[in-house]
């Protein structure tokens, strides 16, 4: 029995793979690539998120609840009130600041805590090292984590230098935190020290609370609700981790979609490989059917072949994916360079569940890819299969209606709103549109090709006749070109539009000549009022405006929103921001104006004219939304208010950034030098000209999107692969024709020209429809996917030159591919094909 099956297998499958290993390898690689990408993206993301989670937990320790304030902190009296409550077993206060490391464009997190309290709530942080604890009390001492020590190349006894204002101050590293404390880059000092040295007297940023047994977190939260000032959050550490994870969720989903697309590509490769293989073996398969192989059996065998490809590809993909993940994490960090997980260095954990899921996905896609050709092969009546000209019959069933339905649904779905902050309907609408277009293509091809003009040149005429007679057969090639080209066009348009919008936005956001910053990232970089006057008085400076940046918690499940205190130009009622839509004039009697970035507006679900409450200095203040502006810089949202109002509410006259306008005669370099000298060449001072800023911003953008260009090239290659497979299949089926034509007297070159014409026409049609479809998809990408994922708006910009060039290149490539694919079919033994009875 077994030997019978084996013989059957050999009859069905044997020989083909031996003859054409190249295609088999390509199909396996296709699946492998899809699985690898998915695995890598998921592993990296999972590791990063879990690392983030760990980081959050390592700080929270055994705390049941964490009370968190915005960057401006909250009064330490709150800690005293909380700690006294009978429900609280222990409360650990802390000052938490991101401090700029001078000379490096990065920060380190400083946690100023009370080691005695921390020992009760976060015991593993200091892990009972009594000497370290008492060392920490000394005013110049700091403990750093192993990760920080490794990263900065420091050890116990060295100095850790940090930037405060524009100056640098050094602390002595008394010891390293124990190995199991945290994986973050962290520095720990005494809370009194941190308050005093960094200017946080009277304030704290967090309290980690451990509750007495018998008290539930919910009950406690309710009990202290009234104690908590506005703008301060109280949440379980789990919620914080989720808040961090939600940050990058849209980004991660995008990457997941990318992996899915790649898997689809892999499935398509399997499909075309199987399609070709079946066509090649059509005669053998038909004979087997005549001999008595049932339909179901045949179907199963062919699908089994696909499954084997899937298994090999998936296994390979899993291995490659793990390696890719390791590489990606080491080179790019946990967020693949997007900047979400700054101070966390993730280690990879290979979740076997994820690996298994992707393995199964790869096999499933491969099976799906093999299923359609398998269906065709099984359905074909054997008698017909023994003759020529029956391919059209198989595809006869495909009418245009399902395709139109898909397209219509796709268009409808594109109007749907986001679910849970993710543009799932948008992704689905793109998938539907693509599917619909592919399904409609045969009909469309029939329509267009039947109207091809009559040509004199015989090869062209023959090509035209061939295409007109068999429009559905070219469906596979058309589908390949259509899918790959439309995706390429949509990506190109989207990236082009993004870049163009970014450049325009930069122009709007950077009206000054020079921008001066006291440290780019940390909270501890700022300019005092005296320093601000100093900047204004530098020779060559016509005027300087100052901006103060803070952050506020507007929603407990989202990260804090940036608060920008910006000055208004004299006589203007709105700050100079790139507004979307109309701005609203605000009377002096109503609530004061606030201008929200698109992200912030989406987050709060408000539009111009709405009232919002912003907690500033631990009090809620009502503002009216006076305008919505576009912001590409702050992914969590930004709210701008007048600086004078900010100072009135908080008394904080410090500034983080200065926009410097120069005299017409002054040179940028000279003024820069003078500025630096005025600050004593402080390391913490950052000066950049607008030109440099624009250039570097666009450079970062290009780097970020470099990956998409690679993907586009891959897409084109895939498309051509599909063309090649389809044309090869057809060429095989038309061997007899070629034989006849050779007998009649057509030279090889003329036959090649005929195939080339077919390729050009197919390519041209595919490219034209692809352009249209790609444009529609880019619309969805811009207005739905990007908008709902990141809340950014973009103006559409069509890069005509690039598109035209690519279209032309693809059409020519299709023609060339068609000729090359049929090359085998034009060799000498084609003349023997005419003898073949099948």
């Amino acid at each position: 029995m077994f030997s019978g099956r084996w013989a059957l297998l050999k009859a069905v499958s044997g020989g083909t793979w031996r003859d054409h290993p190249g295609r088999l390898v390509l199909a396996v690689l296709g699946i492998a690539l899809g699985v690898a990408l998915g695995v890598a993206v998921h592993l990296i993301n999972a590791s990063a998120v879990s690392e983030f989670d760990l980081a959050v937990r390592s700080l929270a320790g055994e705390a049941d609840l964490v009370i968190r304030g915005p960057r401006s902190g909250f009064s330490e009296a709150l800690y005293a009130r909380i700690a006294r409550r009978p429900e609280v077993r222990a409360a650990s206060p802390a000052v938490e600041i991101e401090v700029q490391l001078p000379g490096r464009s990065e920060t380190i997190k400083i946690l100023g805590l009370d080691p005695f309290r921390a020992a009760q709530v976060q015991p593993h942080l200091l892990a009972g090292s009594r000497e370290a604890v008492f060392e920490l009390l000394k005013p110049d001492a700091v403990l750093i984590s192993r990760a920080a020590a490794d990263h900065l190349g420091l050890k116990a006894g060295d100095l850790l230098r940090m930037q405060i204002g524009v100056d640098t101050i050094a602390f002595r590293i008394a010891a390293l935190l124990p190995a199991g404390a945290t994986r973050q880059r962290l520095a720990v000092m005494d809370v009194a020290n941190a308050q005093w040295r960094f200017g946080w007297l009277g304030q704290l940023h967090r309290i980690d609370v451990k509750l007495a047994p018998g008290t539930t977190t919910a009950a406690f939260q309710k009990a202290i609700e009234r104690e908590i000032p506005p703008g301060v959050l109280i949440a379980a550490p789990q919620a914080e981790a989720e808040r961090g994870a939600s940050l990058s969720r849209a980004y991660r989903t995008n990457l997941d979609m990318l992996a899915l697309v790649t898997l689809f590509t892999g499935a398509f490769l399997v499909f075309s490989t199987q399609f070709l293989a079946i066509t090649r073996r059509r005669a053998q398969l038909a004979l087997l059917r005549v001999l008595g192989l049932t339909r179901a059996r045949l179907f199963r065998w062919i699908v089994l072949e696909g499954a084997v490809i899937g298994v090999c590809g998936s296994a390979l993909g899993v291995v490659i994916g793990c390696a890719l993940a390791q590489f990606g994490v080491e080179r790019l960090g946990g967020d693949l360079g997007a900047g979400y997980f700054g101070t966390v260095t993730p280690g990879l954990s290979f979740d076997s569940g994820v690996l298994f899921i992707f393995f199964v996905l790869g096999v499933a896609f491969a099976i799906t890819g093999a299923a359609l050709p398998a269906l065709g092969a099984a359905r074909r009546a054997p008698a017909l299969a023994l003759k020529a000209g029956d391919e059209e019959a198989v595809l006869q069933r495909l009418t245009g209606w399902p395709g139109l339905l898909f397209i219509a649904s796709g268009l409808a779905l594109s109007q749907a709103p986001a679910t849970d902050g993710l543009p799932l309907w948008g992704y689905l609408s793109i998938a539907f549109l693509l599917t619909g277009a592919i399904l409609v293509m045969p009909r469309l091809a029939e329509f267009v090709l039947s109207r091809l003009p009559l040509l004199r040149y015989p090869p062209a005429a023959l090509a035209s006749a061939q295409l007109q007679a068999t429009p559905r057969q070219v469906g596979v090639s058309l589908a390949a070109i259509l899918a790959s080209f439309s995706l390429m066009v949509s990506m190109l348009v989207m990236v082009g539009s993004f870049r163009d919008s970014l450049a325009t936005w930069l122009d709007g956001m950077l009206p000054a000549d020079l921008y001066v910053r006291a440290g780019s990232l940390g909270v501890t970089g700022y300019f005092t009022p005296r320093e601000q006057t100093l900047i204004k008085n530098i020779a060559g400076v016509r005027d300087a405006t100052f901006i103060r940046t803070q952050n506020v918690f507007l929603r407990s499940d989202r990260p804090p929103v940036a608060l920008l205190a910006r000055p208004l130009a004299p006589g203007k009622s709105h700050p100079a921001l790139p507004f979307e839509g109309a701005t609203r004039l605000v009377t002096s009697r109503g609530p004061p104006p606030a201008w929200l970035s698109e992200v912030a507006a989406d987050l709060l679900g408000v539009t111009t004219g709405a009232l919002i409450e912003i907690p500033i200095a631990n009090t809620k203040h009502t503002f009216i939304v006076a305008g919505i502006w576009r912001d590409y810089a702050r992914q969590n949202g930004a709210i701008a208010i007048e600086r004078t109002r900010y100072v009135a509410l908080t008394g904080d006259e410090r500034a983080n950034e200065a926009a410097v306008y120069l005299d017409p005669s002054a040179a940028t370099d000279e003024v820069s030098t003078r500025l630096r000298a005025a600050f004593g060449n402080a390391e913490g001072l950052e000066i950049a000209s607008t030109r440099e800023l624009k250039r570097s911003s666009l450079a970062i953008f290009d780097r970020t999107f470099a990956v998409t260009y690679v993907l586009e090239i891959a897409a084109v290659v895939i498309g051509l692969f599909g063309v090649s497979a389809s044309f090869s299949a057809q060429a095989l089926a038309r061997r007899r024709e070629f034989g006849v034509l050779r007998h009649i007297g057509m030279t090889r070159r003329e036959i090649a020209a005929m195939l080339g014409c077919e390729g050009l026409v197919v390519g041209g049609l595919g490219v034209l429809v692809g352009l249209a479809l790609g444009w529609v998809i880019s619309l969805i990408l811009i207005h739905v996917i990007n908008r709902q994922s990141f809340h950014w708006s973009m103006d559409m910009y069509l890069p005509w030159q690039a598109l035209a060039l690519l279209a032309a290149a693809l059409v020519i490539a299709a023609g060339v591919t068609a000729v090359l694919s049929a090359r085998r079919a034009m060799t000498g033994d084609v003349t023997r094909a005419v003898r073949e009875d099948w």
């Binding site: 401006s72 009064s75 330490e76 009296a77 800690y79 005293a80 700690a83 006294r84 206060p93 009370d114 005695f116 309290r117 020992a119 009972g128 009594r130 009390l137 000394k138 005013p139 110049d140 100095l159 230098r161 405060i164 204002g165 100056d167 640098t168 101050i169 050094a170 602390f171 002595r172 005494d190 809370v191 009194a192 020290n193 308050q195 005093w196 040295r197 960094f198 200017g199 946080w200 007297l201 009277g202 304030q203 005092t528 200095a617 631990n618 009090t619 908080t650 008394g651 904080d652 006259e653 004593g680 402080a682």
Partner: protein, 380 residues
């Protein structure tokens, strides 16, 4: 301007630096409008600790409170409790105050100028070893502290407070809760010379020290879900100093015995590295209230029996023959294992346990025995 930290500077430079760079004033507002301290270096400034000087007269009740200028201070209550079921146990409640000498200019209320440490222990023979707990916190925002002028020292929900003439202690330890009231039945007993207790040959190693023996104890003990009414007698020591131990001293042995006839005896000796006595002292108040102080040569501690701790491997002499002046006592512990591991708070392991005093095999009193510096030399 790079600011580096240097840890070694002469006192004079420190003082000059201190004068030269007074921090600018600041106001507490919702946003910190302060300017940062313009200090020229990071090292700690040590304002001198108050020293024990002869001629100082202890005043009551003022000196019952805290003396924050001194480096070290403690309020130490030890005693015997009896439940209604006639079970006898020993108990200890100790509050330490330590002045760190750190961050004296830091205006933050979190500045760790003073640290409060508390120990508590319960000796229950049915258990065989101590039930104990410890706490440590800085004096900040009223969550821990030691009041001046009267006995009131607390750390979170542990407290010892003077209430009229009596004292109340509430200790919610990990495994038990003590809610006790101590009523003095005798006047305080000044130790040493009018309260100046010398701890070594040099005048610097000394402390101010008084005891209140024969405190009547009443109150409750909650343990393992049950609340017991308890009664008994206790001994309170209040001692403060800035330089307690002589260089040579590695630890001490101390007893405080409430004698059955109403008298009270305190005796101690300081040991050197070899384990020999290099200083001793004590005081005895008889039943009539007449006080006798002992010279160092008049006090002898002779170990009778050793006990080895299974946890730390240290051998403690848990039974003694003590001679103080004309008095001779045999000291026997309520149980051998009364070792306290308080490395987390004071960094030391010591033996503190309830003992019975006998004279010629007849019981004459009960009290506590303290053995320090046996595992590691003690450093205060």
């Amino acid at each position: 301007m790079i600011r580096d930290s240097r840890t070694k500077l002469s006192t004079r430079r420190r003082l000059l630096a201190l004068l030269a760079s007074l921090p600018a004033g600041y106001t507490r507002s919702a946003e910190r409008k302060q300017t940062l301290p313009r200090i020229t270096n990071n090292e700690s400034r040590i304002t001198p600790f108050a020293q024990v000087v002869s001629g100082y007269r202890l005043r009551f009740p003022q000196d019952e409170g805290s003396h924050p200028a001194f480096r070290t201070e403690w309020w130490y209550i030890t005693g015997w409790l009896e439940t209604s079921a006639r079970a006898q146990m020993g108990f200890q409640i100790t509050f330490f105050r330590a002045r760190t000498g750190i961050d004296e200019e830091n205006p933050s209320p979190f500045a760790p100028r003073q640290i409060i440490i508390a120990h508590t222990a319960l000796s229950d023979t049915s258990r065989g070893s101590l039930l104990n707990d410890q706490r440590i916190a800085r004096v900040a925002l009223g969550l821990a502290g030691a009041e001046e002028g009267r006995t009131h020292v607390w750390i979170d929900d542990w407290s010892l407070e003077q209430d009229g003439a009596a004292y109340g202690a509430r200790i919610a330890a990990r495994d038990f809760i003590l809610d006790l009231r101590f009523t003095p039945s005798q006047l305080p007993l000044l130790q040493g010379q009018h309260g100046l207790s010398a701890k070594g040959p040099r005048p610097e190693s000394a402390s101010y020290y008084y005891s209140i023996p024969h405190l009547k104890v009443g109150g409750a003990l909650a343990h393992a879900g049950t609340r017991f009414s308890v009664g008994g007698s206790a001994w309170l020591d209040h001692e403060w100093s800035s330089s307690y131990m002589d260089e040579r001293a590695t630890g001490w042995d101390w007893i405080g015995i409430n004698l059955d006839d109403g008298g009270a005896l305190m005796a101690f000796r300081m040991r050197d590295a070899a384990g020999a006595t290099f200083w001793a002292g004590g005081a005895f108040r008889d039943a009539r209230g007449v006080r006798h102080a002992f010279e160092p040569s008049g006090v002898e501690f002779l170990p009778v029996r050793l006990w080895r701790s299974p946890r730390t491997g240290t051998s403690y002499p848990v039974a003694w023959r003590v001679r103080a002046g004309p008095i001779e006592l045999m000291i026997e512990p309520l149980m051998d294992d009364q070792e306290s591991d308080t490395r987390a708070s004071v960094g030391a392991v010591y033996w503190e346990g309830a003992v019975r005093a006998t004279h010629e095999k007849k019981p004459v009193g009960r009290g506590y025995l303290e053995l320090t510096g046996y595992g590691q030399p003690l450093r205060l």
